[in-house]
Symmetry: C2
Subunit: 201 residues, 2 copies
């Protein structure tokens, strides 16, 4: 971890959709940043040095030039994007926040956890919580239904809701879930990847 | 926000800290509301009638007089409290959001789930995920450390961060956790209960 004069330093893992969403928002907004890779497989989030940045021991965390620190991916993107067209106004903003909280509570805790245990920890099936797959499927069902009448989650355009949700959705295959079963989600993932100029997962 | 003519209906469960936080914020702001009790033990959140209010099948959800619907407790309180002194300005607002997301991701998913399985489902210990207690203890450790230099979570006064976090923290004993082990958390719970004029849990 180097001290420098960057306006924004993102401490994150490239394996984490939570961290990449911060990077994508910074890029979209044209905010210069330094990326400091934190190796979660080596438990670097448990080091004293890291815990001084975020006592909760989680990535991502960002540091501003004046030393202020901010954690929680969706809190970070809300702060970075304040006043930009990634955050709609009025009730659409409330609906965007609804999706951001749902993402962290009902989506990330299923799909991201299942993916990590299957693909990164390589646990055998009998050591993986059997509720994770049905909960992941339920999350994708909710998304597919919502997208039946919309191209984006809120306000008819790209917002933080899409950016937050696409983080782990685009890696569903690493959780053993084929998005062909959820065709509107699959089409939406391609749309958001294109909007963000990020390659296919 | 301004709510004309008692235009808010809260669909919630009195057993849920997520739902009570919405009630407390409405009361604090002097917003008239109707409360519709949803019996989660009888799986009323799975009924077609309820799923029409919130396809994600979760309480709380609120309905405004014009029919607009909003789910996710923290998204609801952020909308209701916009412009009030429960939401600080600038970077303090970002820090408040950090705690709101942490509450839903790292605190509720441990303490609230452990409480529900122990006290409401009355599951025997060997049927309760063994990670729930250490994760709950970790959450209380993080809170106790943060409160070592503060009486409130953010901005030196009552904000949505305190209201969201107190919801399940005050019921820690129902999760088998005695707040005497976390004395600053215990004192803070009493402070917030007093500020909100709610009885001791």
């Amino acid at each position: 971890m180097s001290l420098d004069n960057a306006a924004l330093t993102i401490f994150g893992s490239s394996l984490s959709g939570n961290c990449l969403k911060v990077k994508w928002v910074a890029e979209r907004l044209g905010l210069p940043f330094d990326w400091v890779e934190i190796d979660v497989m080596k438990k670097e989030t448990r080091s004293a040095e890291f815990l001084a940045l975020n006592p909760a021991g989680q990535v991502p965390v960002v540091r501003f030039a004046d030393g202020r620190l901010l954690a929680q991916s969706n809190a970070i993107v809300l702060y970075l994007a304040e006043g930009s067209n990634l955050i709609p106004e009025g009730f659409d903003r409330a609906l965007m926040l609804q999706w951001l909280f749902w993402e962290q509570y009902s989506h990330e805790t299923a799909i991201a956890v299942l993916r990590f245990r299957k693909t990164y920890l390589k646990l055998p099936p009998d050591q993986i919580d059997p509720s994770l797959e049905p909960r992941s499927r339920k999350a994708l069902d909710v998304m597919n239904d919502h997208l039946s009448t919309r191209g984006y989650f809120v306000a008819g355009r790209l917002t933080l809701a899409d950016i937050a949700l696409v983080g782990y959705t685009r890696w569903s295959h690493e959780a053993g879930l084929d998005l062909k079963e959820w065709p509107r989600v699959q089409a939406w993932v391609a749309r958001i990847e294109s909007d963000l100029n990020i390659g296919r997962a």
